[in-house]
């Protein structure tokens, strides 16, 4: 968008939209939040942040640093149990290994093992293996955001292409596309996803494919309507009159004029897909269990909550809610900025 501001001599659609968006404080702050999330994700992919997320830096379920030390019922219980235990009996006269204990102690003394120091607390707590929840959430954002963005991109591309073809050509092409659209929308959406998941299997690429292949219908509907509207407009007729090719009219003339619709749909899809990925991964139908994503983290957190270890659920849930809220509000802002008539 910045580039558009610089290049455009007379303010174009994007420059005007950007100018309006800059007035909108809420949308701008959401843009910042989204940018921070994407930057963290990219940094994590490049290994700059949270690359040591797998290090077991704390004790099991290390508590968040801000939490006052709670009386540890487990330790108290084991201490009480130990106190009740029968006193040790000296078995050394009948223990066949007794003569060698001293030798082993000496040999063990020659080795120096440095146990990694595990801290009692971590900034936002630790998980079952004492891994830092904050770093884990950042690492998990990689898969979740990646899946959301890529799948939304695929769905938007398919929807735009089919919508453009149907709207521009009309007639037989339109009938065919409408048929495909009707088939896809007559199966309840979630069932469609699960049917695809049943045959395509698991994995990050698969889940992107599934979401992309099933989620295009909304984009198609709107893009088709836009093309129907635009193909009779004077600028398109004029382009036709001077002999501009069909492909160029479709994608170089009409497409930029529908791009605001496409952009809004794209960001709506990103939100929807991030949410869907989380749910599918939770159910074991999304990314594999060994890949850390927000869905697999939430799947762990159900049992943790029963034990009173709420921090992993809280951190991941909050991160996800923040990103989704920011993208949703930004979408509202973009919609207003791109189409001021709607206000």
């Amino acid at each position: 968008m910045n580039a558009a501001v610089v290049e455009a001599a007379s303010p174009g659609l994007w420059a005007l939209a950007w100018r309006r968006l800059r007035q909108d404080r809420l949308a701008l702050s959401c843009l910042v939040v989204v940018a921070v999330f994407v930057a963290l994700m990219l940094a994590s992919m490049a290994g700059l942040v949270a690359s040591d997320w797998e290090r077991e830096a704390g004790v099991t379920y290390a508590r968040p640093a801000f939490l006052p030390r709670a009386p540890d019922t487990l330790v108290a219980a084991s201490a009480a149990a130990a106190a009740q235990r029968v006193p040790m009996v000296d078995l050394s006269d009948i223990d066949p290994l007794a003569p060698r204990y001293e030798e082993w102690r000496q040999r063990a003394g020659q080795l120096s093992a440095t146990l990694p120091s595990r801290s009692e607390t971590l900034p936002l707590g630790g998980d079952q293996w004492g891994r830092d929840v904050l770093k884990k959430t950042i690492k998990g954002s990689e898969v979740s955001i990646m899946v959301g963005l890529t799948a939304a991109l695929i769905a938007t591309l398919i929807g735009t292409l089919l919508g453009a073809l149907a709207g521009y050509w009309g007639g037989r092409v339109n009938d065919l596309m409408e048929w495909v659209y009707n088939v896809f929308t007559s199966i309840p959406y979630i069932l469609l996803i699960l049917a695809f998941a049943a045959v395509l299997g698991r994995g990050v690429t698969t889940i992107i494919l599934i979401l992309g292949l099933t989620g295009w219908t909304g984009v198609y509907r709107l893009v088709r309507a836009e093309y129907l509207k635009h193909r009779e407009r004077e600028y398109v007729l004029a382009a036709k009159a001077v002999g501009v090719s069909h492909a160029k009219r479709m994608f170089a003339h009409i497409l930029p004029n529908t791009s605001h619709v496409v952009l809004v749909q794209f960001s709506l899809l990103v939100v929807a897909f991030i949410k869907t990925e989380v749910i599918l991964s939770f159910l074991g139908l999304g990314v594999p269990v060994d890949v850390v994503s927000w869905g697999t983290i939430l799947a762990e957190s159900q049992d943790e909550l029963v034990m009173g270890k709420w921090w992993q659920l809280a951190v991941t849930g909050t991160a996800m809610a923040m990103l989704v809220t920011a993208v949703s509000l930004l979408t509202d802002g973009m919609r207003d900025a791109l189409d001021p008539k709607l206000r």
Partner: protein, 312 residues
């Protein structure tokens, strides 16, 4: 009217054909060789050959497609690959629990969302309105998973107000003991998006001239809102509810999984996990048929409710 219904039914034939074709392609080509799925971990060539003959996989594809079409119209999908139950039996026993949860949920959610949306639309622009709108945005951004995990733990486990999960054979026990918590959660989550949408419908109507006229002739605000605005806004609201009706049969599969309700949603998830293709195929095709029928029914009712709608 009769001609319209006949034409609409005629139009659903290619769509239904498409659904059958899509499911066929997915499960017969993309899904890999079902014989390998069925034969298990240590496949025996003779056994695989046997299974292929039984399923008709040794036939050319058009005959396989024909077998599938036959299955759809005779309601005979054979037996489940994992439990060996008749697929039709599985479907019939799973519909009940799903509807037990979904129908109260839809009714409560619609009533609540309409009432709240009307209130919020009435005080539009005020602090209350903006607060509610902001809260709904935040509420919608939290994953359904988080809601279920937290509330099942809090209300079921910690406070012990509801059973954590379970299901019985008695409809009344189910409705009063096991369904309330899932229903409550479902309502809680679906009320926010509906509230926002219905509010916009109400705002559209409040801006109309007839509302100003009604006020100008001195009608009480109650009457303007309930008699004029509400009635007119009911048309888009009912359309929206109608679009969501087929979802009743899919159910909220997440709720069914968490609360171990033996409904269609959970059945689908389990079938996907077990690669139980006949069950998924049957559910997909029949729910598509249900969806098409419900859509047709809604369109017809729409005509009854609003005589201005004309059938093209």
């Amino acid at each position: 009217m009769g001609a319209y219904i006949a034409r609409r039914l005629w139009q659903t034939i290619p769509t239904l054909g498409g659904v059958i074709l899509l499911v066929f392609i997915l499960f017969n080509w993309v899904g890999g060789d079902p014989a390998l799925v069925l034969a298990g971990k240590v496949p025996d060539p003779a056994q695989i050959e046997n299974i292929r003959r039984q399923l008709g996989l040794d036939q050319p594809w058009w005959i396989q497609l024909w077998i599938f079409v036959g299955q759809v119209f005779t309601f005979d999908f054979g037996r489940s690959w994992s439990t060996n139950q008749l697929v039709s039996e599985v479907l019939l026993t799973r519909v009940g629990p799903t509807l037990t949860v979904m129908v109260p949920m839809l009714v409560l959610e619609t009533l609540l969302a309409v009432a709240l949306a009307l209130l919020v639309a009435y005080v539009r622009g005020s602090l209350t309105d903006r607060t509610v709108m902001f809260l709904t945005t935040v509420a919608m951004s939290i994953s359904f998973l988080v809601y279920i995990i937290v509330f099942q733990w809090l209300l079921g486990f910690r406070l012990d107000w509801f059973p954590v999960q379970g299901w019985s054979n008695d409809l009344w026990t189910n409705l009063t003991v096991y369904a309330p918590l899932p229903v409550l959660l479902g309502v809680l989550v679906s009320v926010a998006p509906s509230l926002r949408l219905y509010r916009s419908f109400f705002l559209d109507e409040i801006g109309q001239d007839y509302v100003r006229t009604a006020r100008a002739k001195g009608l009480a605000e109650n009457r303007v809102m309930l008699r004029h605005v509400l009635r007119n806004a009911m048309i888009p609201i009912l359309t929206y509810v109608g679009i969501g009706l087929p979802g009743l049969f899919v159910g909220s599969f997440l709720l069914e999984v968490f609360f171990s309700i033996p409904g269609l949603g959970r059945e689908v998830i389990e079938s996907v996990n077990r690669s139980d293709f006949p069950v998924i195929k049957a559910i997909t095709v029949y729910l598509a048929i249900v969806t098409m029928s419900v859509n047709l029914l809604v369109d017809v009712l729409y005509r009854v409710a609003d005589p201005r709608v004309s059938f093209k």
